[in-house]
Structures are given as C-alpha cells and as structure tokens.
Symmetry: C2
Subunit: 352 residues, 2 copies
DNA sequence: CTGTTAGCGCTTTCAT
DNA sequence: ATGAAAGCGCTAACAG
C-alpha cells in the first residue's frame, strides 16, 4: 500500500495525501479527515526510506560507543573489556534507546573498537541513514573528531573532553568534578586526613576529572598529597581488587583511613580485598564510591557514594540532539550539567 | 558526490558505475579498474537510502528485546528490570552488534516493553528500514508473533519457544535442557540426594527448560521430587537472595545438601545469604549455577557452573539471519543448538 | 559489454 | 486549496 493507493481511494492526489501526513497548514479540515479516514482504515504507513530520499529526516540516531574490546598489553587473545562489563555503558544504552523511542526515533548502535570500525563509522555519518550521532566512551580521538567535523553531522558528546567549539557538536556533561570534590570533602568532613584515591581509567575524561577534583579538594583543605595514596584503576570490577591490593602493599605500615574509589564497581571488589585482609569497613577504612550503580547497591547495600544519573544524562542527550536536528541551531540548546548528589549510606565513619 | 559524477569523471554511464560497485560479472577488468580508481580517488560511497529504495537490501538488522522495565506487581513507580540488569541481555547486545558489524551490517536496537512500543515494532518490521529481525527475551507474545508472520520479515528467535514452523522464522537455541540436566546429574554424581533448584523467571523459555531438565534428571535417577526444594526466582541478583531465604525458611529442619541455581547471577546473592546463615559452601551446601557469566566469575571465582556461550549464540543468530536474508530460503540454514559445557570449579563436594 | 530508460515511494516546487 | 510534474540517488530490465 502506497500513497498513490490512498490517494485514489480518497479521491485526491498523492500530493494531498502527503500534505495530510505531514500536517501542512493550508488544507481544509474536511479533506484532512477524508484522507485520514482512508489512511486509518488501511493502516497505511509512509515508507520512510522513500521519505528520506525525498528529503525528510530519517528518524534514526547513531549511538557510537568508543571502547576497547581487547587490551593488547595484557593479553592479545583475551577479551578484557566489552560494553557489557561496564554498567555505565549498559545503562546508557538502555536509557538512550528508551529516550529515543519515546520521541519516535530509533537507535542504531555501533561499537567502535578497531580501525576498520572507524572507517565504517565514517561511512555511516556521511550517509543519510542516521540524522544525528551520540558519542560515548570518554576518549576523544582526533581522527574521529576530524571525521565528525567534516561530515557536519549533528553530534552530542556525553562526558567527553573537547578543546574547542564546533558548530555541529554539542556537549552533555555530568558533574564528575563536582561530585568527586564532594566525595573527598565528605571524607575530610568526617575527620579523615589520610585519604587515598583509586582512579578510573585515566584515558577517560570522567576518570581524569574525578582525580583532578580529588587533588584539588585535598589541597584546598591543606592536606598534602601522598603519591602512594593514588592508585590507578580502570573502572572494572577486577581492577578494584588489584588496586586495593596495590594500595595495601605500598602502604602496609601507613594505611589510609579513607578511600575515594572512582566508581562503585571497583569498590565492590576493593571492599572484598580489604575484608580478606581483615579490615573492617568502615571502622578501619571509610569508603566512598561514585556512580550509585544499582548493581553495586544490590551487591553491597551500604556503600556511600555519589550519584551520576545516567538516565537523565541519556534523556538530556537524546532530547538535545533531536532538538538540534530539527532546529539546526546549536545556540538554542542549553548545555547544562547533570547534577550529582551525595548518597550517605554506611561506609563512612570518623577515623579511630 | 553521486554516481553520476563518478560516471562523468570516469567517462562511462551511471549503470556501469553501479555495475562496478555491485560486482557484476560481465564487466572487463579494464573498465572496472578505471571506474574504481575514480571512486577511490574521491572516496565516493553510494547512498544507501537510494540503493534501498531502488530495491537493494538495507544492511540493517533490528534487534528487538522483549523485556519489562517495570514490575507493576511490586512497585508501579519503581523500575525493576532493565536490559542492563541482565548480563545475558547486555552480552547479547555486545556480541550481536559486533557480529553484525563484522558482516557489514548495522544493528538497530529496540526494547519492547509497552503496547505503544509494540505498535512501533509493527511499523518497523513493515518498513524497509530493516531487512531482518532478531528477537530475544524468551517470552513469545502471540500478538507479536502474529505481526511477524504477517509482515513476512525474516526473523530469528533466540531461545524462544514456538509451537509451529513459519516460513519467515528461524530458531537458534542454546542447550538449556541439556545443560541443566548435566548440572543436576553432576550433583547426583557427587552423591547428593537432597537437591534443590532455584528457577529463573518462569515466563521465560530458558527458565522453563532448565526446570524441566532438573525434574527429569531427578526422576531418571530415582530421586523423588520435593516441592519445597523448588523455589521460583526471576534471574535477577536480588531474587537470588530472596529465593535462598525462602528455601532456608521453608526447609530449616531438612535443608538440601545441594542446589542447582538457574543462573550465576542469582547464585552470587544466594551464596551471600547462605554465608550469612553460617553455611559453608561447598562443605554444607554444594552449588552449581548456569551461564558462566564473566561477571559472576569475577565476583566469586570458584562457582561451578554450566556455560552458555552467548557469543556463539549471537554469531550464529546474526550469520544465519544474513544468510537467510540473501538466500531467501530457510531450508538451507542449519538450525543446530549451541553447546553447553560443565565448568567444574569449587562449589561441588560430596555431602557430609 | 555498456548506455538508455524506467522506476523505487515519497516530498515539494510550480502552476492554477 | 490542490493537482501535475520534477527529482531525491540508485538499480535493473531492455536494447543494442
């Protein structure tokens, strides 16, 4: 069934049918209803491929996840990360998809983890298949940025650093810095002075921001940075355990009394490690995480943490992009930050 | 830049350019190279929207996830499940996306969790936007099935039950029954006779199969079923804890010596519960899980379990679908099962 | 082997 | 207010 069939059935021309479908202004209510009745009766839906070719926007947004599947430094044959190992990415996919569908858009998902994928990415953003792109992953890649700029595709970056402003790119940030500052401040407020930090993957913007805030907060409070108290993790469960171990082994004789861990996932296994070493949480060591993962909350109900509302981030990103696609004017879009909040549970106590 | 431009530049007609792009047989090497050179020089890519309209297949596969976001029985305002709460679904998305992209296909992802989403699903499969569909979720919905059949869209069901054969539907199964039978058999082999089972969400096909195998295996071994030893879970972390509690409270005076838990995720929290109650695993209670989740493995390294190779399932599903799309003949596609294996780790011991 | 031509189903000027 | 006609960029049947 095509528009021509509807036209015949309704006794009008294809153009009129098109006008009804697209809600053109100067078309009398009578004609509109007549045509609409036929459309409804036959359950006609316009072919969106044809519409796109004829110049309409395609209601598809590309969600591009820049992440490594393999960490070659560790084991070239063994998958290390993947989107399903990251609750952050999994949640983002959930919520972005949902937000898009609530606006009658669909999500085309793509994971970019190799050079050949980068080339496919390039083709995709040059094509008319998608009318906008959402970029996540936190590691801004010059080559990719170049492709995005030259393709002119409307793009939103979620929690990625960019030095410069580009006409076709908008940003959505969550309060990584502010949240991490609060986290550290809460530890200090409880009386701690020997405070450690297990970082996220420092290739990622959010991890770097959280580290920066940690340092700033200590300095602002007149606490000297102790290099041995900063351990590099990578946001994964496993690295939480390893980082905790490294922290312990480096500081056996001078353990910190509190730790700010860059995400809840690492906190899960870090806490496990400390328990194995017979530390009591929070009596011996206070812990604050970041993200407020539902996963982590179920695993260890009492973790004090900082929320990062991924749902809001996703909705904001999708809505901004859709507005951008239709308005074609970046200046009309508010690029505010998504708020973080301190979630006070049971893993912070004053030091002994 | 369009094919006409390339044609002019290469001194041929548009048709010839099209033939080169589509690898037509009877076209001399010389012409081919001449045209290809121009294509490469200008980095021309054919507009896939136009190709699709002109009759080519669109290299997009729809991945449809049928799952509830909310469990109204428990709390209408509170999200209960979502794809990111299920490692199975998260992994499937990862691997399906990867497999598709390795075959130059893209994945359009959609989560169907409401009536309005069902209607959008209907539009999508009737459109030419996607040339095939993958269905996951395990709860075959009559309404959806009807839409799929009448739309004729080429579809692959992953681990879903279907009574009947349809020309446009193919199946990929993993060995739910066989794996669960093995799991139970391993417990019996170790000497257990008092064996319990925590089921998955029984609305789902895989959960029902696992339960069926559990029962069959006990009967085949002459062990009488104890109703109080079968507890209904729903595959989620939380339900693992709750089910373990229910099992304990129902059987305080006659606890089973072994439990087959329908997925590793529930096993994580079930084990936590039993430890709280001062049971030793496996001395007091042997446990076997299912799925061999990397997540669960990191959380509790020693869990004995049954593998369900989600990567293979995904690859098989994508490859079969692509073959189906191009061959247009279901009979040529092998619909074999993806093998499960017993992973012998540290949570099974003979009873005391 | 290759060019010409007719669509694919829709939107959108242009004309009335 | 509405119909006729052109065109989006490509493929494929037809002709030679």
């Amino acid at each position: 069934m095509k528009s021509e069939d509807i036209a015949k059935l309704a006794g009008v021309s294809r153009s009129t049918v098109s006008r009804v479908i697209n809600n053109y202004p100067n078309i009398p209510e009578k004609t509109k209803q007549k045509v609409q009745a036929v459309i409804d009766k036959y359950g006609y839906t316009p072919n969106s491929i044809a519409r796109t070719l004829a110049g309409k926007k395609n209601n598809i947004i590309g969600l591009f996840i820049f992440d490594k599947f393999y960490n070659k430094n560790i084991d070239p044959n063994n998958p290390m990360y993947s989107i399903h190992d990251s609750p952050y990415l999994s949640e983002l996919i959930s919520y972005v998809t949902d937000a898009a569908e609530n606006n009658d858009f669909n999500i085309l998902i793509s994971v970019i983890n190799s050079q050949s994928k980068k080339n496919k990415f390039d083709k995709l953003i040059k094509s008319d298949i998608i009318s906008g792109a959402i970029i996540v992953g936190g590691e801004t890649d010059k080559e990719i940025l170049g492709k995005i700029i030259s393709s002119k595709i409307k793009t939103v970056f979620i929690d990625e650093y960019l030095d410069g402003e580009y006409d076709n790119i908008i940003h959505i940030y969550s309060e990584n810095y502010e949240g991490a500052y609060t986290a550290t401040q809460e530890l200090i407020k409880a009386g701690h002075k020997k405070i450690a930090h297990i970082t996220g993957n420092l290739k990622k913007f959010d991890a770097r921001e959280r580290l920066r805030a940690f340092k700033d907060c200590l300095i602002d409070n007149g606490i000297k940075l102790n290099k041995n108290y900063i351990i590099e993790g990578d946001f994964s469960l496993k690295s939480g355990y390893n980082a905790a171990k490294e922290l312990y082994e480096k500081n056996k004789n001078n353990m910190p009394t509190a730790i700010f861990i860059a995400n809840d996932l690492m906190a899960v296994k870090a806490i496990e490690y400390f328990k194995e070493k017979n530390f009591n949480i929070p009596q011996d060591i206070s812990i604050i995480g970041f993200d407020n993962h539902s996963f982590a909350e179920i695993l260890l109900g009492g973790l004090s943490t900082i929320s990062r509302p991924i749902g809001e981030l996703a909705i904001k990103a999708v809505n901004s992009l859709i507005t951008f696609i239709y308005l074609d004017d970046k200046s009309k879009i508010k690029q505010e930050k998504i708020k973080s909040n301190y979630i006070n549970r049971k893993t912070i106590k004053p030091p002994k």
